[in-house]
């Protein structure tokens, strides 16, 4: 205790100086604290929500006993021999098999979906979500009545349905209607990012559907499937992907399945969107931290110049350079630490909001915990980096000589360039503002860099937003965006396709057409989603060329990396007992199956039993006519096709658009907040530095409004210069950054679309903020008398 008292007494002078400095320069410290609040709050919230979502998913896997590999196979293809060979496989620990009935189509209101839907008997391991959709139901679930179903949140998002709504299922041409009773958490296929969905019904309904199916004998066709869950044997150290590949190589069973999914891939797909959004935000926060460092560097640099005499006095009174530096380090770290702490507290409510944002996508109930340890660690790293920077920046304190400082021998602090920007009578205030900027450019370098960072990110998120609303961008990235789409229920020939085109062209020119079907095929033993095109020349390739010949395929860059392929390489594609060698003719990109996909021509797929396409999509010159077209097509080709119009619908699901717009809003709001704090801090310092000149201008007859406008114009010019730099950075690097961040989504060559509006909105937002905030920050000019300013 005595030692502690001694230390306190010894360091009282430091504490006194810190207190005095904080009181004197509270504006700067409040600014630094606010910036740290934003960084700490966002960082803590993002890390916590990420952890909560990941943990929530893992807990749900455990709760539902999710398998390492799950696949759906026609019941008739899962022979007893096949099942026993699986059971005897040394890598498989256990197997669970559930009967399922596959629906070919599901409808709710105006929404129709054809992707695989499997109806299964409800099992108690799938917990029910409460009405508020924020926790599991506490009381045990009441049994499903006949005609009732449980669905996952992913189904609810895709079908835009609510509890109590009726869903119509089409099974082998028969129609059944079920009412949604509640939402269950089924983590394996439950996310809206996964196309395959499980629907849960009661045992009686299931048996009725099975009996109906059994009664309707169809040659080679069945709606009866088996959902097989494979669990690794104890000691099997293979990844889920390698495990699946090994089982497939040994048994060929995955080749026969209609769908398969590993737990690792389920986890990847479920958290994909959240991870991408958070990756972008984390990079943004990293750069915001850079902004804080630059702001702090400016504050320290100017602060030392302004405190030159005081530092000299302190030195003359026996303060060592290290003691003075310690004061500077501690005062800035205190401001940062206060901001970090406040930010962590504010992250608690933010966590709740952000967590809820991803529920419609992941379908997983996440906790609302704060990842305190991880956040504290990262904030400590931030503080350490800051301390190092302050240590570096305060080196010049050592060079201050007390005698020189006290005698006012410092060099001119507020003027560093001889660059003479002309001054014009007609634009006197503006040209004086420009002169103030050009004659002291070094002071504004930091602010310009800060603006460029903010503009870079604002432009980057604007680019993502542009793509969301751009048909051509989606198409150029391998996405299908069509206004008129149809599924063929019967095999169609070329003549029928030509007639369909004629019908469409009565209303609108066809800009682009896609004829395709999809299958899962094995490429070098890896089961991959294959898009089989009748007209493969429409596939936009990044390198090489489209697969025009029957022995050619194009793969995504992700597949090329995964399987170590390059253009010209040969691959073995297998399905069931069929196999064929193909040459990689090019690379393309696709967001289907998060980029794990390839394209082959229909003529090449015939060996795998694919005789015709089952989907056609048309991009129209006049999208508004698509409703009429689909009505006519459904009328003429009833029983052959089911056409639907997507005119007026968004390119992307609403949920995704909302999440991306939220990210855009976060980046825009934080950018404006940072602009505000930075402008106020820099303006205050500049005001103090230029107090004398302001006084002179006032004495010459400039009004306070004149001088405030000069201030505002100067910062507008600074913002404009920073915007120019940020725009150049964005033109060169936004695409690259997005390619890196969106690679998990399947995008390796982002369709960057700069338009005048892309630049205009962020640049004007920031420049006008600078103009306005600088004008407001310069209000002190008004309050000070001319004489007071001059007679310092």
């Amino acid at each position: 205790m005595a030692i502690l008292n001694g230390m306190v007494r010894q360091d009282m002078e430091i504490i006194t100086l810190i207190k005095a400095n904080i009181c004197r320069k509270k504006g700067s410290f409040i600014g630094i604290t606010l910036l740290m609040v934003i960084i700490s709050m966002s960082l803590t919230a993002i890390i916590s929500v990420q952890d909560n979502c990941r943990d929530g998913l893992k807990a749900a896997y455990e709760q539902t006993d999710a398998a390492d590999v799950t696949f759906s196979i026609k019941k008739q293809d899962l022979s007893a021999d096949m099942l026993s060979s699986l059971k005897e496989h040394p890598l498989i620990g256990r197997i669970r098999v559930f009967d399922a009935i596959q629906a070919t189509e599901i409808k709710c209101g105006g929404i129709t979906e054809q992707t695989g839907w499997e109806l299964l008997k409800y099992r108690k391991e799938f917990k029910i979500v409460n009405d508020a959709m924020n926790a599991y139901q506490k009381e045990p679930a009441t049994a499903l009545k006949n005609g009732e179903i449980y669905i996952t949140q992913g189904t609810m998002t895709r079908m835009k349905c609510q509890i109590g709504d009726s869903l119509r299922f089409f099974i082998s041409g028969r129609e059944y209607s079920f009412q949604v009773k509640g939402i269950v958490v089924e983590p394996m296929f439950g996310s809206s990012t996964i196309g395959w969905k499980q629907i849960f019904i009661n045992d009686e309904d299931f048996e009725k559907l099975r009996a109906d199916e059994d009664a309707q004998k169809r040659e080679g066709k069945t709606a009866l499937y088996s959902m097989v869950s494979l669990y690794k044997a104890a000691g099997c150290a293979l990844t889920d992907g390698k495990f699946k590949r090994r089982i497939n190589l040994d048994t060929g069973i995955i080749d026969r399945a209609s769908v398969s999914l590993t737990k690792e891939m389920s986890e990847h797909y479920t958290n994909l969107f959240m991870e991408i959004i958070f990756a972008i935000l984390l990079v943004f926060i990293l750069f915001l931290f850079l902004v804080v460092l630059i702001t702090m560097a400016h504050s320290i640099g100017v602060g030392i110049e302004m405190d030159y005499t005081n530092i000299g006095i302190l030195k003359s009174q026996g303060f060592s350079k290290n003691k003075i530096r310690a004061v500077w380090i501690l005062q800035y770290l205190l401001a940062q630490a206060a901001g970090a702490f406040a930010g962590m507290v504010l992250a608690i409510p933010l966590c709740n909001v952000l967590g809820g944002l991803f529920w419609p996508i992941t379908g997983i109930l996440a906790n609302k915990n704060i990842s305190a340890a991880k956040s504290l660690f990262l904030i400590s790293v931030i503080l350490l980096i800051s301390a190092f920077l302050i240590l570096m920046l305060t080196r010049k304190i050592a060079r201050i000589s007390p005698i020189r400082a006290i005698s006012g021998g410092r060099s001119e602090i507020y003027f560093d360039s001889r660059f003479q920007m002309p001054i014009f009578r007609n634009w006197l205030s503006a040209s004086l503002a420009l002169r103030q900027f050009t004659s002291n450019r070094r002071k504004y370098v930091g602010t310009i860099v800060i603006v460029s960072i903010l503009i870079f990110f604002m432009l980057t998120v604007t680019l993502i937003g542009n793509v969301l609303n751009s048909k051509t961008a989606i198409q150029s990235m391998g996405g299908l965006y069509v206004e008129c789409a149809m599924d063929f229920t019967e095999k169609v020939n070329d003549k029928q396709l030509a007639n369909i085109e004629k019908t469409i062209e009565k209303y609108s020119k066809i800009k682009k057409k896609y004829y395709l079907t999809r299958r899962y095929l094995s490429v070098n033993g890896e089961e991959i989603y294959c898009q089989i095109y009748q007209n493969p020349e429409v596939v936009p390739v990044l390198n090489g060329r489209a697969p025009l010949y029957e022995n050619e395929i194009v793969v995504t860059e992700i597949i090329a990396d995964e399987l170590d392929l390059k253009i010209g390489d040969k691959v073995l594609v297998t399905h069931g007992d069929s196999k064929k060698e193909f040459i990689v003719s090019g690379l393309f990109q696709s967001i289907n199956d998060t980029g794990l996909t390839f394209v082959m021509p229909l003529k090449g797929a015939k060996i795998f039993g694919v005789e015709s396409v089952d989907y056609a999509g048309y991009s129209l010159d006049s999208p508004q006519s698509s409703a009429k077209i689909t009505a006519e097509l459904n009328n003429i080709y009833d029983g052959i096709l089911k056409a639907k119009s997507t005119e007026g619908g968004g390119i992307m699901e609403d949920t995704y658009t909302i999440a991306i717009n939220c990210m855009k809003a976060v980046i825009y709001i934080f950018s404006v907040l940072f602009a505000l704090v930075v402008v106020v801090m820099v303006c205050n310092k500049t005001f103090i530095q230029e107090r004398n000149d302001i006084g002179i201008y006032k004495a010459l007859g400039f009004t306070a409004v004149n001088l405030r406008i000069q201030f505002a114009v100067r910062f507008f010019v600074v913002a404009l210069a920073g915007s120019l730099l940020g725009s150049i950075l964005s033109i060169y690097f936004s695409g690259r950054l997005l390619n890196t961040l969106l690679r998990n989504m399947g995008i390796t060559s982002f369709a960057v679309q700069f338009t005048p509006i892309t630049f205009f909105v962020p640049i004007m937002s920031i420049c006008l903020c600078f103009l306005l905030f600088a004008y407001l920050a310069a209000r002190k000019v008004k309050k000070v008398e001319a004489r007071e300013l001059v007679m310092e």
């Binding site: 003027f415 001054i423 009578r425 103030q436 006032k698 009004t703 008398e785």
Partner: protein, 253 residues
């Protein structure tokens, strides 16, 4: 009969200090006349500079009136005061106070442009003329930091008269200069006055006081003495100095 250019009635200026009030100017009545070179002298702390800044509208009076053109400057709003400084009044400061990132020429021309009374070409012409008069034409594109204190003060004088002000206020304009520069600056001011420029100057330098046509002595915030002098003639400086010294002695300076 001299024409009054500026007058003060019951002018008071107080500052709050240690919970009390310090009265720097106490109930001053004063008239300044057109064409006069009025010099205010007094001991340190007598309120000389405060009087100058209060009369010029650079500072607000606590009470009383400062009448210029039948208007009370003490009650004038900021915009009007700025207009007054722009055109009717000129200022010279002890520390020159040139704008550091403007060249000498620009320092002179900017207030001319700001005033908007004269066409741009005329402002430029007058600036060149003043630069010549002040003997700083050859360094007109230099920045203030690149020239001597005397040259800076000459530039400040040129700046103060660019708009042909009716009244020029000078706060110890030679206070920061050496002997040679002091003489040069005083010669310039005398020359301006002899051309009809009204000047109100505060100084504690007797050499500066010799240039006055009217001397005011300030003591404890009140005008204790007021003496008229004939126009300055260099050859009669010795007699003038004796006269002024005698008067100042009578004021217990």
């Amino acid at each position: 009969m001299k024409k009054t250019i500026l007058s003060a009635r019951g002018l008071c200026k107080s500052f709050a200090h240690n919970g009390g009030q310090v009265h720097v100017l106490s109930n001053i009545d004063l008239e300044l006349f057109d064409g006069d070179f009025t010099v205010v002298m007094g001991a340190s702390g007598s309120g000389k500079s405060t009087l100058l800044y209060t009369l010029s509208g650079m500072d607000r009076a606590t009470s009383g009136q400062v009448i210029y053109n039948e208007e009370d400057i003490a009650a004038m709003e900021e915009k009007k005061l700025a207009k007054l400084r722009r055109g009717d009044f000129g200022f010279i400061f002890q520390q020159m106070h040139l704008v550091s990132n403007l060249s000498l020429y620009e320092n002179i021309v900017v207030p001319g442009w700001l005033n908007k009374e004269q066409p741009s070409a005329q402002v430029k012409c007058r600036a060149e003329e003043l630069l010549g008069q002040m003997g700083i034409s050859h360094i007109k594109s230099h920045l203030p930091s690149q020239v001597s204190g005397g040259e800076q003060q000459r530039c400040a004088i040129a700046r103060s008269v660019i708009n042909c002000p009716r009244l020029l206020f000078a706060d110890e304009p030679t206070g920061a200069l050496n002997r040679k520069n002091t003489t040069e600056v005083l010669n310039l001011l005398t020359h301006l006055n002899q051309q009809g420029q009204s000047i109100l100057m505060v100084t504690h330098d007797i050499r500066a006081a010799l240039r006055a046509t009217r001397l005011l002595y300030l003591e404890d915030g009140k005008i204790a003495g007021d003496m008229a002098l004939p126009a300055y003639q260099p050859e009669k400086e010795r007699n003038r100095e004796e006269q002024v010294n005698a008067w100042l002695s009578s004021m217990e300076w």
